[in-house]
């Protein structure tokens, strides 16, 4: 207990307060949404979210107080267990047409939500335990393959948003651990070749870029040529392969990329979201006064598009305030990661920073059409039990990493 008090004294408490302020904005917005609704406040999502917040605090205490060596020791086991859990939905059955959730008497669990930050811990352990020579290409490739397996399974559930978040921290972790930028480039390049292959113009530019990078990297003529032609081959082969697919197979891939196809057309949500945000102006329309929100033009306003509600009702000032709060939180985590003594803590912190950053950027970017719609919630603000609890779990974990373990 005494150790716990010392731990609390040393920890950067303002992280927690930033999270609280963000959650407060989320609750305020949920309250505004339920304000004009005909149903009783007691059954509204506002009240439910407060209930979840209690769960969030509990989980926060757990992830914050577990000794670091325990986290380190059981990280592989935890990943293995949750990895197996990914298959359980195929036993308990589909929910809402996907295999994302495990149904347990009364409530549901989303294993990918857990796996998201457990993978970070496992990767951090892998990259810090073995005295890896990070300048070897193998050291970069193996962890990526390791993470790609659960990523592929989650993408097939289908839940592309979670799959992206699952994979996203891997590259920054490798980079932070000292991987050579060229190796990272070589791993990513084939993926970009596939994507650009559908347009001759973009593909030509891309292949030119690959050539330049390989030339400048001075990686030797053999490796350079192999990689160059590998990308050219992949790019040329992709359209051919694509045309071999049956229409229904193509449709499956397209649905995977664009999950949000809705009856009004994919553009509908975005237009309404942008209209909501744009019409909010500098100071917003005021609490409970958003016409886009309350006349139900804005879809999924409690979850994916909660930031559009904020934009409409609270305006540019609060939007910038919230974005700055996120930026400060992520910045501080990276800063702490940089000065950390242990590599394990440092890598866990950088992983959590990446998760937060990708959630914020993909979600907010989606509301203003900077990115295609992907259905990712906004940390601490969006409605949803699992996700809110998961966010506080990550916050506890991050704060746990900032202090020395007291033996």
């Amino acid at each position: 207990m005494n150790n716990f008090v010392i731990k609390i004294r040393e920890v950067p408490k303002h992280w927690f307060f930033i999270a609280l302020v963000l959650t407060g904005f989320g609750l305020l917005t949920l309250y505004s949404i339920s304000y004009h609704s005909e149903t009783s406040l007691l059954t509204s999502r506002f009240i439910k979210q407060i209930f979840w917040l209690g769960g969030g605090f509990l989980i926060f205490l757990v992830t914050f107080s577990i000794p670091r060596r325990i986290i380190h020791k059981y990280s592989y086991l935890a990943v293995a267990v949750v990895f197996i859990m990914l298959f359980l939905p195929y036993v308990t059955g589909k929910i809402a047409g996907t295999y994302r959730w495990i149904q347990l008497s009364g409530f549901t669990i989303q294993p990918s939500e857990l796996l998201k930050w457990l993978i970070i811990i496992a990767l951090a352990r892998y990259l810090s335990d073995h005295n890896l020579q990070m300048d070897k290409f193998r050291s970069t490739l193996l962890p990526i393959i390791f993470v790609l397996i659960p990523t592929a399974i989650v993408a097939k559930q289908p839940d592309l948003g979670s799959a992206i978040i699952l994979f996203a921290p891997t590259i920054p972790l490798l980079y932070w651990a000292g991987a050579r930028p060229l190796h990272i480039f070589l791993v990513i390049a084939p993926v970009i070749s596939v994507v650009t292959a559908f347009n001759l113009y973009t593909f030509s530019i891309w292949i030119l870029a690959v050539g330049v990078v390989l030339y400048l990297s001075k990686s030797g003529i053999k490796i350079g040529l192999i990689n160059f032609f590998l990308n050219v081959f992949i790019g040329l082969f992709t359209p051919f392969l694509w045309n071999q697919l049956q229409p229904y197979q193509k449709e499956r891939v397209l649905v995977l990329i664009d999950l949000s196809r809705d009856p009004y057309g994919a553009g509908y949500q975005l237009i309404q979201s942008i209209t909501a945000i744009g019409s909010g102006g500098f100071l917003g329309k005021g609490f409970g006064n958003g016409t886009q929100t309350h006349l139900k033009f804005l879809p999924e306003q409690e979850t994916d598009f909660i930031f559009s509600v904020i934009g409409e009702e609270f305006g540019f000032v609060i939007v910038v305030l919230i974005l700055i709060l996120f930026a400060v939180l992520i910045w501080k985590i990276i800063k702490t990661s940089f000065v950390a003594d242990e590599r394990f803590s440092s890598l866990v912190l950088i992983g959590i920073a990446t998760i937060l950053l990708s959630h914020v950027f993909v979600n907010v970017g989606m509301t203003v059409n900077l990115l295609p719609v992907k259905g990712l919630p906004l940390p601490f603000l969006s409605y949803g039990g699992s996700f809110l609890i998961s966010c506080f779990a990550m916050l506890g974990l991050a704060m746990n990493m900032t202090v020395e373990d007291i033996e």
């Binding site: 009783s40 380190h72 810090s128 744009g278 540019f316 974005l323 930026a327 910045w331 990276i334 590599r343």
Partner: protein
């Protein structure tokens, strides 16, 4: 190894910082572009981007009588509402509206608060708009942005000659904010109607139907510009009709028989429990309550000492008087306390302890056996008989015939009355606080015993069917779920049944019987009954008649109560007799000739 050292080059940290700065700058830049630079464009677009959700109300299901006569139907009333958020020029619109509707500005604003459901939903400001005013408003629609009218179905009682059925059908009530809060909304909205009494309340879910809705595209001026393409309208579904077991003609006849009286009549099919007639007087025409209730009239009904809102048939609690002697007799016979030949001498008075209990006939009945005791309703006989009886022996029979319990009729308003057992008396008076003296009163249906007219009719039905326990019903199958049916039977010995039948037959058909003047002149109809005269400290006694009449395999049971009617034989039994004759189609002219 947890202890491996961390080393990250500054350049890599700076790349991370750089990524954060770039990404957040991108986001903030995009927000600046949308919210500051292009604000006007999107503000305009949002203003045009308006949908008005209009709910259409479902007409309630019809209520019909047994023979198909429509008792309650619907008509349309028009209401005018305003949507606060669309009132662009509040003063102009409300001023014009006020002059078009002859409604003061302050009344409009009061109603906007009273019926307000938030800035985005219509608040009703005026109702019952006549068609000429409505068309005027329709013509001036463009001057009235944010104003809309809608159709509102309200009850219509189509045939003014049909029976009142006031308490059976029940009235509807407007849902106010308090009620809405209590019942947690559901499908109801402020200002909707909900059944508040009788069948309307009992079968609310069946009758109410389902609301529909339309989406109108509304322009920035608050004017409707057509239906929204991608949100198809949902039509309102009318409620289901309900057919009652009430015989409209019989009911109307009963209502005229009770004119200017205070009291109740319940008549039911003894075998099925179907209620053919249920009258509670005084009543009123439901037309006064068809739409929005006139508060002045409502206050009048509420404060009327005759309590016209009370359904006396199910909620009126009265001492049963001599009619209860049947229960006492059955209890005595079933427990073998006396045989039917047991006799006493009635001197008109009976001394018990230091109190005197009188018979209704001050000069006394002379020698009284069971026959005479029931036929002429002698009290002294029962005072002596009950001396031999324990309270719980009496209570067992009373409860088997349904006293002290709800009948389970499908009406939301019913009282269970009171039938005392030992436990009750101990609780009320203390273990030693009551003596057999209390039993004297109970034996003749006075004191701690209260019944409703419906209980009395149910009691009669159980006698008529020799113990079949049926639940009185206003709506017959298939609306009633199977689980509601009781399959019990009151089991009495054969000799008890035949004695009771003989005695009750004599009450009506023996020249000395208390209801002899109400006998029926038709050989095929067997009319049984018992009169009651319940003492009442407030005035003249209440008059009772309870009985049943069989013809072939048909049987109807009846209970009549007239408040302050005096002798049961004089004021209650004739009404029962007329009802029976009307039901069996016996020409009542023969009766008047006699």
């Amino acid at each position: 190894m947890l202890r491996s050292e961390n080393y990250v080059p500054v350049s890599r940290r700076n790349v991370a910082y750089g990524v954060i700065i770039v990404l957040f700058a991108l986001l903030i830049g995009k927000f600046y572009y949308l919210q500051i630079y292009q604000h006007e464009k999107y503000r305009e677009r949002a203003d045009y981007n308006r949908i008005r959700l209009v709910t259409t109300n479902a007409p309630r299901g019809l209520i019909l009588a047994k023979n198909g006569k429509i008792l309650a139907a619907n008509r349309s009333e028009y209401t005018i509402s305003v949507i606060p958020v669309e009132l662009v020029q509040v003063d102009g619109v409300l001023g014009r509206l006020s002059s078009y509707l002859d409604l003061s500005r302050s009344d409009i604003e009061k109603n906007m608060i009273k019926y307000g459901r938030g800035r985005f939903l219509p608040a009703r400001i005026c109702r019952g708009i006549p068609i000429d005013k409505l068309s005027y408003i329709e013509e001036h629609k463009n001057e009235l942005p944010g104003v809309m009218y809608s159709e509102f179905p309200v009850r219509l009682y189509p045939d003014p000659s049909s029976p009142n059925l006031t308490h059976i059908l029940g009235y509807l009530r407007e849902i106010d904010k308090e009620t809405l809060k209590k019942m947690d909304g559901g499908e109801y909205q402020l200002g909707d109607f909900i059944g508040a009494q009788g069948i309307e309340k009992q079968y609310e879910l069946t009758l109410k139907g389902k609301k529909g809705h339309l989406y109108y595209q509304v322009d920035a001026m608050g004017c409707e510009v057509g239906l929204v393409q991608d949100r198809p309208p949902v039509l309102a579904e009318p409620g289901e009709n309900i057919t009652l077991t009430i015989d409209a003609d019989l009911q109307a006849y009963a209502e005229t028989l009770l004119n200017r009286k205070i009291g109740a009549v319940v008549m039911l099919n003894s075998i099925t429990g179907e209620i053919l007639t249920m009258v509670s007087k005084p009543d009123y025409r439901l037309d006064n309550f068809a739409g929005f209730i006139d508060t002045h009239q409502w206050q009048q009904y509420l404060t009327d000492p005759a309590r016209p809102l009370l359904n006396r048939a199910t909620m009126g609690l009265y001492p049963p008087g001599s009619a209860m002697k049947i229960i006492t007799t059955i209890a005595a016979l079933e427990n073998g306390l006396v045989n039917s030949n047991w006799a006493i001498e009635c001197m008109g008075e009976y001394f018990y302890g230091d109190r005197i209990f009188g018979c209704w006939k001050p000069e006394g009945h002379g020698i009284v056996n069971m026959d005479k005791a029931i036929t002429e309703s002698c009290n002294i006989y029962f005072y002596q008989l009950v001396q031999r009886m324990g309270l719980n022996q009496w209570y067992k029979i009373a409860s088997q015939f349904g006293f002290g319990q709800l009948t389970g009729v499908d009406l939301p308003e019913e009282y269970s009355g009171l039938a005392p057992d030992k436990e009750f008396m101990n609780k009320k008076y203390g273990k030693r606080g009551w003596t057999k003296g209390y039993l004297l009163n109970i034996a003749i249906g006075q004191g701690d015993i209260l019944v409703t007219p419906l209980q009395m009719a149910t009691f009669a039905a159980r006698l008529a069917t020799k113990g079949k326990v049926v639940m009185p019903r206003l709506v017959s199958e298939p609306l009633i779920s199977e689980s509601n049916r009781m399959e019990q039977k009151v089991k009495l010995s054969r000799s008890t049944w035949s004695t009771i039948y003989k005695l009750m037959y004599k009450v009506v058909n023996d020249p000395n019987g208390t209801a002899y003047s109400s006998r029926v002149f038709n050989r095929s109809v067997k009319f049984y009954g018992k009169t009651g005269t319940a003492e009442n400290p407030q005035g003249k006694p209440h008059a009772w008649f309870v009985g049943f009449a069989n013809k072939g395999n048909q049987s109807v049971s009846i209970a009549v109560l007239i408040e302050n009617g005096g002798h049961g034989g004089e004021s209650a039994a004739p009404i029962a007799s007329k009802m029976i004759q009307y039901f069996y189609g016996i020409n009542s002219e023969i009766l008047t000739l006699q």
